[in-house]
């Protein structure tokens, strides 16, 4: 069977070789890079602009951004027909291609986040390593942990006041440098689509900007959501542990801290959401107003075939409903949870409607293609580019975050 045939249904006239070649994994790719960029921008709001209220979530989102980073690459690899050759993008980049910049931007960004994390957690590394060294009878696990943390200090054991201040300055500089790189990382994902002149739906110079705005929205939403979830787990844990350790924060302390952080962060979420929706609507109105050759087929895709996906799920459920949920005064944790889940759904659907919607019509403008998401995998292809492949991509960052949190505790008070 030809690649793409398993999930493409054709209607009316399409060119014989046309199939939905870019599937769920290419939806996941901008979604995941968007989360990376968004999480980083959120942490930079504290580090660079000194938004003090975001202090708690800043560390969290920085570590989470790092956990998401390797996963941004995963959907691309899973979608490649020759995944083992993926490294060629780094080795023989062909710079007229928008994808070729991936290796450079991605590794630059990775290095910035990694070094920023190192500066943020250096004190912790040194303290942990020293306390492990001081143990009278360390077992094998302690020795291993001691070695790990000693290596992580990279030989910089100075934790004097001056040295820590220097660290803070470095964090600030790195976070500042990271913002344009994070925006570029995601903006160029938008450029990959926006520059395809053969695709009438994708080709618009607004695409990178739209992608960046919705990326920040999704990144902040995911940070809030994960923050709420981890805080809930901590609350449960603290209930159990408080009997033995009275020094850990009480339930009420955790609750009020949580509510405060969520309320603050959701304000930034709203701001970026307004920007994202404005740009998307501008694009839609402009297309309708100019009505170039492709508008006939685009109109039937946007207003008829994909109406539910675009207007009901993306704009209605994913934008309008959470917008009001966040605007109504007295934001509760429960409402924030529902709101962020809906925002994430909205951004995911926006990616879906761009990637799949862009292939929903033939480049002959005379026919349509319908994408049927493979649910139960019957072959390697339907596993990789089906529901399960997407789920793998969605779950992996949380696993990485779990491991990272062991080394770089997100909630430890500095």
């Amino acid at each position: 069977m030809v690649h793409g045939e398993a999930w493409t249904i054709k209607e009316f006239f399409t060119y014989p070789n046309e199939y939905i070649y870019w599937t769920i994994q290419i939806v996941m790719y901008p979604f995941m890079t968007g989360l990376v960029a968004g999480a980083f921008v959120l942490s930079s709001l504290y580090h660079v602009f000194g938004v003090k209220q975001l202090k708690d979530i800043a560390r969290f989102s920085l570590v989470f951004s790092f956990a998401l980073l390797p996963v941004a690459m995963l959907p691309l690899l899973m979608h490649l027909q020759q995944p083992l050759r993926g490294i060629e993008v780094m080795m023989t980049p062909h710079f007229t291609s928008a994808i070729a910049a991936f290796g450079i931007v991605f590794s630059t960004y990775g290095m910035i986040v990694a070094s920023e994390l190192w500066f943020v957690y250096r004190k912790h590394f040194v303290e942990t390593a020293l306390s492990l060294k001081a143990l009278p009878q360390p077992d094998a696990a302690d020795k291993l942990r001691c070695l790990l943390f000693s290596v992580l200090t990279l030989g910089a054991w100075d934790v004097s006041h001056e040295a820590l201040e220097a660290d803070e300055r470095a964090v600030k500089k790195l976070a500042a440098a990271g913002i344009p790189v994070a925006c570029f990382l995601h903006g160029y994902a938008g450029f990959i689509f926006g520059s395809v002149k053969a695709n009438a739906l994708w080709m618009t110079p607004l695409m990178p900007v739209i992608f960046i705005c919705s990326a920040v929205v999704s990144g902040i939403a995911l940070c809030i959501l994960t923050y709420i979830l981890t805080m809930e787990i901590r609350k449960q844990l603290s209930l159990r542990r408080r009997l033995a350790h009275p020094e850990i924060p009480s339930m009420e302390e955790l609750k009020s801290a949580e509510a405060h952080v969520v309320a603050m962060t959701s304000r930034y979420l709203l701001m970026f959401m307004v920007a994202a929706i404005t740009l998307e609507l501008l694009d839609l109105i402009f297309r309708g107003y100019t009505a170039v050759k492709s508008w006939d087929i685009l109109r039937s895709v946007i207003y008829e075939r994909d109406f539910v996906n675009i207007f009901v799920i993306q704009y209605g459920l994913g934008n309008l409903v959470p917008f009001f949920l966040f605007l109504i005064p007295g934001l509760t944790i429960r409402r924030a949870t529902v709101g962020t889940v809906l925002v994430l759904l909205g951004v995911f659907m926006m990616r879906w409607n761009v990637v799949i919607g862009g292939q929903a019509f033939s480049s002959s403008f005379s026919g349509f293609m319908h994408y049927v998401l493979p649910i139960w995998p019957t072959s390697m292809e339907t596993l990789k580019e089906g529901l399960f492949g997407a789920l793998i991509v969605a779950i992996v960052p949380f696993c990485i975050f779990y491991v990272l949190n062991k080394v770089m505790p997100v909630f430890k008070k500095a």
Binding site: F13, T14, P16, Y21, L80, Q82, K197, S363
Partner: protein, 260 residues
């Protein structure tokens, strides 16, 4: 012990020293030298006379066999489209299996395995249009390939390196003509290459050889005596989707406005 100052100085010196021989590469660009010698090879172009095409599909068959594109796979390097324009102004188009078996059914294939029957008296005009890679002068597929696996030869033909293609599909997305697909066996991007292995040895392409009606011809645009060049230069030819700025090099005679 090396000081920081001397380290910086020495690294600058080494970098500068390396830059000089590297600059020589720019001075002696082999392609530039070749161009200066004015040894121009051919520029392969294609001429399709839609008025002669009967939609038999022999070209598609011939191409599939010659270029080892699996016969039953629903992809093809070249195909034939059937256009039926009815009196109500509607255009009905189809290309079942790329017209590998011609058009055995009179009804128009509208997908889902359904046929749309059109009565003879409703038909205003009907014709066939063969399609293949346009070997664009400004090929978007070459531009977007992230690893340079697809490239344009000096004689204008765009080729794919099967050993280097990573299978990302960006070229397939970038082609406005839909000529590219994934090869079902090699799992890399695949497309018509004007039977490069044949034309460079002075032979015709497989589709040209299979066409009993002379609807397809391949020629060299840099040879003014080439009969194909003469037609392109002197007659009213047209190209497909000029608005994309790809500068297609497959020329059509008798192209109608309905052709997509």
């Amino acid at each position: 012990m090396i000081t920081r100052r001397s380290f910086c100085k020495k690294s600058l010196l080494i970098a500068g020293g390396l830059a000089v021989p590297l600059a020589a590469l720019e001075l002696f660009d082999p392609r530039k030298l070749l161009a200066e010698k004015d040894q121009k090879g051919p520029r392969w172009v294609f001429l399709v006379d839609t008025r002669k095409c009967v939609g038999c599909g022999f070209c598609v068959k011939g191409c599939k066999v010659e270029n080892e594109v699996p016969y039953d796979a629903n992809v093809t390097r070249t195909w034939v489209e059937r256009y039926v324009v009815t009196k109500d102004g509607k255009t009905h188009i189809d290309s079942p299996k790329g017209a590998r078996d011609g058009f055995p059914e009179k009804g128009i294939d509208i997908g889902h395995g359904k046929l749309e029957e059109i009565r003879d008296e409703e038909i205003e005009k009907a014709f066939f249009v063969p399609k293949l890679c346009n070997q664009c002068d400004n090929p978007p597929c070459v531009q977007v390939c992230p690893v340079g696996a697809t490239y344009q030869t000096a004689d204008g033909v765009v080729l794919v390196d099967r050993k280097w293609c990573i299978g990302c599909g960006y070229c397939i997305m970038g082609c406005p003509y839909g000529v590219r697909f994934f090869h079902p066996v090699y799992h890399v991007a695949e497309k018509c290459n004007f039977c490069y292995h044949r034309i460079t040895k002075g032979m015709q392409t497989a589709c040209v050889d299979s066409c009993a009606f002379g609807a397809r011809r391949v020629g060299n645009l840099r040879d003014p005596e080439d009969p194909v060049t003469k037609v392109i230069m002197t007659e009213r030819v047209n190209v497909l989707k000029e608005e994309y700025g790809t500068k297609p090099q497959v020329f059509y005679l008798g192209l109608s406005k309905e052709v997509k």
